[in-house]
């Protein structure tokens, strides 16, 4: 197998995730797009770890998975709080800190 097939799959997933973060305005869907980005990074970490024959890539992928779990927990709590305060999770309406 070529290393590039995994790296390019990661690049495609990353770009789709970036598109989702920018184009979505529902809070939950933005968090899902961030998950796409983190998964793309994990593919790259594991591919380079396998390429160099070390387990460092796997260890860091596990760290990324743990951080992603924490991020989703806090992110969804924030979205929930947003819904409780404004009865909407439309991110375009969250503009009270606009200068």
């Amino acid at each position: 197998m070529l290393i590039n097939q995994f790296l390019l799959l990661g690049a495609v997933l990353f770009s789709i995730g970036v598109y989702g973060v920018l184009a979505r305005r529902n809070g939950v869907l933005v968090l899902m797009s961030i998950e796409l980005i983190l998964n793309a990074v994990n593919i790259n970490l594991i591919a380079f770890g396998a390429h160099h024959g070390t387990v460092a890539g796997q260890v860091f992928a596990l760290f990324v998975i743990a951080v992603a779990a924490a991020e989703v927990g806090v992110g969804l709590a924030i979205v929930l709080l947003l819904y409780r305060n404004r009865q909407s999770i439309d991110l375009d309406e969250v503009s009270s800190m606009r200068g």
């Binding site: 290393i3 970036v18 184009a23 899902m32 387990v55």
Partner: protein
């Protein structure tokens, strides 16, 4: 040609299938107008990424991907959807009116990263194929990476406490 390896035809065929499934799923995650459908398409993407981990010989991370992502994070997303009473049916307001801005950023990003990757790695074979032992991973976590591991534990605890504090009713 990028799938040009001679020896491992089966792996390349399965990689092609899994990659197609993953990309279609990811596109549906960012384009569907139904929040619950987006969560279910995300399951497909996460399973495809887990299968890629298995192809790369990282069994433990693949299993963790299924347990943590598909088992726990998707359920959290579905809870978030239900608790915020997002419209369960299809809903056009989930995508921004300026969605093309995302395309303007994402397509050049894909072009640049793709060009750089092909320029740098070309047709390089993946060396050191084959599974890496889980025992080595755990040895590494508990020796070389012990301090980052403890930091991650602290971060998870802080995040869980923070999530409870945020979501609790006064």
């Amino acid at each position: 040609m990028i799938f040009a390896a001679e020896l491992d035809v089966a792996q390349n065929v399965f990689f092609g299938l899994i990659a197609a499934m993953t990309i279609v799923g990811a596109l549906r995650v960012v384009t569907t107008t139904n929040v619950v459908h987006a969560a279910l398409w995300l399951v497909l993407v996460l399973a495809g990424v887990g299968a890629n981990f298995l192809l790369l010989g990282a069994e433990f991370v693949g299993v963790t991907q299924v347990l943590v992502y598909i088992g726990a994070i998707i359920v959290l997303f579905l809870f978030g959807t239900m608790l915020t009473r997002a419209p369960i049916g299809s809903d056009d307001t989930v995508t921004s009116r300026q969605w093309w801005v995302g395309l303007v950023v994402a397509l050049p990003l894909l072009a640049i990263t793709g060009y750089v990757l092909i320029d740098q790695w070309g047709d390089d074979e993946l060396i050191n194929e084959g599974p890496q032992r889980t025992a080595e991973v755990s040895d590494s976590i508990f020796s070389t990476y012990l301090i980052p591991f403890e930091a991650i534990g602290l971060l998870l605890t802080a995040a869980l406490v923070g999530a409870i504090v945020l979501a609790r009713k006064e």
